[in-house]
């Protein structure tokens, strides 16, 4: 009996004396997010730190999970189309293109040439908009606040074109299965051309602010390095893969839409660090301008919708179709059971897979590098969580 009380008391005392706070340990566990200015949404990264050095990370995602894949099983093919815009909401047009082309393949129809050209123009404009948003926020994360406003000013012009074309700015829903549902508006070509003339010097302007800026170079060179081998093993695609030196772009590797008609290059980097990814994306913006310039001059005449049945019932089967979204390979795996609703839709989100590389890229780096790497991976949480 007495023994027991002594034990109780000592344990109580021990508890009081050894009430450990985070100050007692050399390791600091920091919860970055889900509400944090630099995690681009509701990403939560648990950082294990030794001072400023990162010992390890764990990503906690799912805060924006809306069950898009489940919704798809309860909607018809047409009804599900607008939902895909809500995944990568800064590149909604690309999402729509991937989905529409996947269903078209399943239905065995092909969009008319005119529709395909319009698709290319809008998708490339969207790539520009996405990269501009990336540049602005990435620079903001690294501490340069001014490029953000420049890129948003120019992105606005793209959004105006989208708005005039389909009425929406962000979640555009620009394409339909079988083509485009809207004919281009009067002066579409003229306005896009005007935009090209407007934006070409602006990209030089961004580069002027950053490319040779000493602090920018110091902050991005050799930060978040990832080799081509690691990229492929981790399934990382898009500009991140290309910055590591792999010349692989689905627009060239497995061309879709009207891309074979255009002449453009795939910019690649060498070191696979944040600076190379920055350079690659800047080059990509220029290549996008080139594609738009070629496409806008020769949009063919003709119908914009293929003949598709009113009630879409694709034959039993499955399809995987992927496109080069601004963030990487965006794939749709659709299983049809012959009814009007897809049996299963799986989205292969580039952001989700790319985010997996974060841990490898920031181990041993500093806290500030984590921010830079999150920015350079260019994730959109709507797509990570779906």
């Amino acid at each position: 009996m007495t023994d027991r009380t002594t034990i109780d008391r000592t344990s109580h005392l021990e508890l009081e004396h050894h009430e450990k706070t985070f100050l007692d340990s050399n390791e600091l566990i920091i919860n970055m997010g889900p509400q944090h200015p630099a995690t681009h949404g509701v990403l939560r990264v648990i950082l294990k730190l030794d001072g400023e050095k990162v010992l390890g990370t764990e990503c906690v995602i799912g805060y924006l999970h809306r069950g898009v894949e489940k919704i798809a099983e309860h909607r018809t093919y047409t009804m599900f189309n607008p939902y895909v815009d809500r995944m990568d909401y800064v590149a909604a047009v690309s999402n729509g293109l991937g989905y529409c082309e996947a269903v078209e393949k399943l239905l065995n129809v092909e969009a008319p040439r005119r529709a395909q050209y319009i698709r290319v123009v809008l998708t490339e404009l969207n790539r520009l908009a996405s990269h501009m948003l990336w540049l602005g926020t990435h620079a903001l994360d690294i501490g340069a606040i001014t490029p953000l406003f420049y890129t948003f000013r120019d992105r606005e012009e793209i959004l105006k074109i989208f708005e005039k074309y389909c009425g929406a700015r962000l979640t555009t829903h620009a394409f339909r299965i079988g083509g485009c549902s809207y004919e281009t508006y009067d002066g579409f070509e003229r306005e896009v051309k005007k935009f090209l003339d407007f934006v070409t010097p602006k990209i030089d302007e961004y580069e002027e602010l950053l490319t040779t800026n000493r602090i920018w170079v110091e902050r991005t060179k050799d930060v978040g390095k990832i080799s081509a081998k690691e990229c492929i093993a981790l399934g990382v695609t898009g500009p991140v893969l290309r910055a590591s030196g792999v010349k692989w772009d689905l627009r060239k590797a497995q061309p879709y839409a009207a891309y074979p008609d255009f002449d453009f290059e795939i910019p690649v980097g060498q070191n696979g660090d944040t600076y190379d990814r920055y350079i690659v994306r800047m080059q990509e913006m220029r290549q996008s301008l080139r594609i738009i310039d070629q496409a806008i001059g020769k949009i063919p005449d003709g119908p914009i919708m293929a003949k598709i049945p009113k009630v879409m019932k694709p034959p039993v089967g499955e399809i995987y179709h992927s496109i080069e979204a601004p963030k990487g390979e965006l794939g749709y795996f659709i299983v049809s059971d012959g009814s009007t609703q897809p049996y299963r839709v799986r989205v292969r989100p580039p952001s989700f897979v790319n985010l997996q590389a974060l841990d490898m890229m920031v181990r041993g780096a500093l806290v500030a590098d984590v921010i830079a790497v999150i920015g350079t991976l260019d994730i959109v949480l709507g797509e990570v969580d779906r």
Partner: protein
């Protein structure tokens, strides 16, 4: 390539075909670990695009797990499919392609399929304590883990 695979593994490969120009292989579940390894090492499918599953409640083996692979040297895709019953666990592809880590976690999260040998198999998109696997066909579209919602969010219902 398909014929080579068939020659090597014979009856393990149930179906090897193309649909709409896309190659796919339906394999015996017992053959999967070996097949994936062979596909990466000998056939150079070095990039695992996606791992996902489809739920067929009517079948004897309910889940069809799909591996979508891509080969950089060959510029070619292939889909590998295998069926598993609910109690069976699938061999993890993490040792073969590190990218399988999160993809398998998502399949586990959404379908409840266990992956044997996965380093850290836990839920990824849904909260850890959630009950049920939403992408199964018997999970209703507005169904929720009410208990979790009530305890953790302090609201009566999420609907």
């Amino acid at each position: 390539m398909i014929s080579r695979l068939k020659g090597q593994h014979g009856s393990g490969i149930r179906e090897a075909n193309t649909y709409l120009g896309q190659k796919y292989v339906v394999a015996d579940s017992s053959l999967i670990p070996e097949l994936l390894q062979v596909l990466r090492d000998q056939e150079h499918f070095d990039y695992c695009v996606d791992i996902t599953a489809v739920h067929y409640p009517d079948r004897e083996k309910q889940f069809e797990v799909v591996w979508i692979l891509y080969s950089f040297p060959r510029n070619e895709r292939i889909r590998v499919k295998a069926s598993y019953a609910e109690v069976e666990s699938v061999p993890s592809a993490v040792p073969i392609w590190p990218t399988a880590n999160w993809l398998e976690r998502e399949v586990f999260d959404m379908f409840g399929i266990r992956f044997e040998g996965h380093p850290d198999l836990k839920r990824i998109l849904l909260p850890d304590g959630w009950k049920g696997h939403p992408l199964r066909k018997d999970y209703g579209i507005i169904q929720q883990d009410q208990e979790w919602v009530q305890i953790n969010l302090g609201i009566e219902s999420g609907q």
